[in-house]
């Protein structure tokens, strides 16, 4: 179990250390800068923060001395010629600008570096980054340089190779509301899974398209959305258009994947070949953002439920974590130590993590809670953090 926590918050990076007298927060890092994701590379201990500058563009920040000093990198960029089909938010406000015939194209620029993942043990300098507007970037030199994964960017589900010319297929990738803050409505990659058995086996999740899998290190990609159901398009079981909020994979049993989706909780026991909806709305388990799976037992997972997409808050003013130990057949509400009155927190997709028996989550209300016993009981780590975007054990 890890004795370090790394929080990405609206006002900077917060690192907490477990000491003899409890968890202690260090002075805030990247003060005043929104940090949408912060994590630690388990291979060499490098700390990473994704800076979501409102004014100066997205940047990665890297510390190789445990957080004492940081170096900002501007090396993650779309190559010249990278284009995407412009998406329009389906609201009356945007309809005036929406195209009626041929698609509109835009040159790609990074709006947000939403997620970072690390290569396998035999790829010591390999990093992955997921972005809005929906590009997967790969670094083989520890983040010094980045390359856009073109097979995914040029995927037929997204219109084909727009480097070569206009679209040759229909675009099925929708925008994510998380992009609206940047004045656009474009897709985003927020989840990247590297199979611990085979680092060439990858899954990514795209809001709003669905899950894609590569078995050849990113050379080819295929949709993996069988069994997924949505409630906002005419065909709920369509191949594309799904809105995974986050996906995760059991390290000890990598064929077990979990997905908190806009339209419920989904579980796969066969490596995402088939998904099964395991929501239990009557138990409060349906809508939410984050999901965590046990490191050894692929049938045990945790979610932090929220009321509904249209009502993004706790159910009945009480904050709880739901746990299943049987692959989603049943869920247990875990409330001990969590506020049960006047609590309306929402927990975002990267703000729940597990390390051994320890779990931690943080809310956009600035509250952070930790459990040492797999969620049975919870301890408050603080109520006055800035809005929390990510929580990772380091």
């Amino acid at each position: 179990m890890s004795d370090t926590l790394i929080l990405g918050t609206r006002k900077g990076t917060v690192i907490l250390d477990r000491t003899a007298s409890g968890w202690q927060a260090r002075p805030i890092l990247h003060a005043g800068i929104p940090v949408c994701y912060a994590t630690r590379d388990p291979r060499d201990g490098t700390l990473w923060a994704s800076l979501d500058h409102g004014h100066w563009g997205p940047k990665l920040s890297r510390s190789r001395d445990g957080g004492e000093t940081w170096e900002d990198l501007s090396t993650l960029k779309y190559p010249g010629g990278a284009r995407h089909i412009v998406q329009y938010l389906p609201t009356p406000d945007f309809e005036a600008d929406a195209p009626t015939g041929e698609p509109d194209y835009a040159n790609a620029a990074v709006y947000k570096i939403w997620y970072l993942a690390f290569g396998g043990p035999n790829q010591p300098r390999r990093l992955y980054a997921g972005t809005i507007p929906g590009g997967l970037f790969v670094s083989n030199d520890g983040g010094e340089s980045w390359t856009l994964n073109r097979p995914l960017w040029n995927h037929e589900s997204r219109g084909g190779d727009l480097f070569a010319g206009d679209a040759t297929s229909e675009n099925h990738w929708g925008g994510t509301p998380a992009s609206v803050d940047y004045g656009v409505f474009e897709p985003g990659i927020h989840s990247i899974l590297v199979d611990p058995r085979d680092p060439n086996h990858l899954h990514v999740a795209v809001s709003s398209a669905g899950v894609l899998e590569s078995t050849d290190g990113g050379e080819t990609w295929a949709g993996r959305n069988q069994g997924m159901l949505m409630d906002y398009l005419p065909n709920p079981a369509a191949d594309w258009g799904h809105d995974p909020h986050y996906i995760t994979q059991c390290p000890g049993q990598p064929e077990h994947l979990w997905q908190q989706n806009h339209c419920g909780v989904f579980y796969s026991s066969d490596g995402a070949k088939h998904w099964k909806k395991v929501s239990v709305p009557e138990a409060g388990v349906h809508f939410g953002f984050p999901i965590a799976v046990d490191e050894q037992d692929g049938r045990t997972a945790w979610v932090v439920p929220a009321r509904a997409d249209a009502v993004r808050m706790t159910l009945d003013g009480g904050l709880f974590v739901a746990r299943t130990t049987d692959g989603g057949d049943s869920w247990q509400a875990l409330r001990t130590g969590l506020p049960q009155q006047h609590a309306h927190d929402i927990v975002l997709r990267h703000a729940l993590d597990v390390s051994g028996d320890r779990l931690c989550f943080g809310s956009t209300t600035g509250n952070a809670y930790l459990s040492e016993d797999r969620g049975d009981t919870w301890l408050c780590l603080g109520n006055n953090f800035p809005p929390i975007y990510s929580v990772r054990f380091g």
Binding site: G54, W56, G57, S74, K77, Y78, V110, Y182
Partner: protein, 92 residues
Amino acid sequence: MPTVKMTSHLYRFFPQLKDQDIRLPSGSVAEVLDGINELAPGFTDYVLDECGAMRRHVKLCINDTIVIDRKALSDRVKEGDTLFIFQALSGG
């Protein structure tokens, strides 16, 4: 030569520019920004995106005139002009 003045918030990332009297050859806005980038490598990554367009919350003025061409940055900065680099503060 044109003068460049900028928001002090950029000094956090480029301390070498603090309190400097920045004077660069006249040219397009893009060329003047490239000149600042020579003094402080990486500077343009903060003001422009990878397509070379001005970032959304950045505003440039030549003397009292707001730079209109935010994509190609073709406006001319002439001898004796001052190029101002502002950020549009927002958020809470």
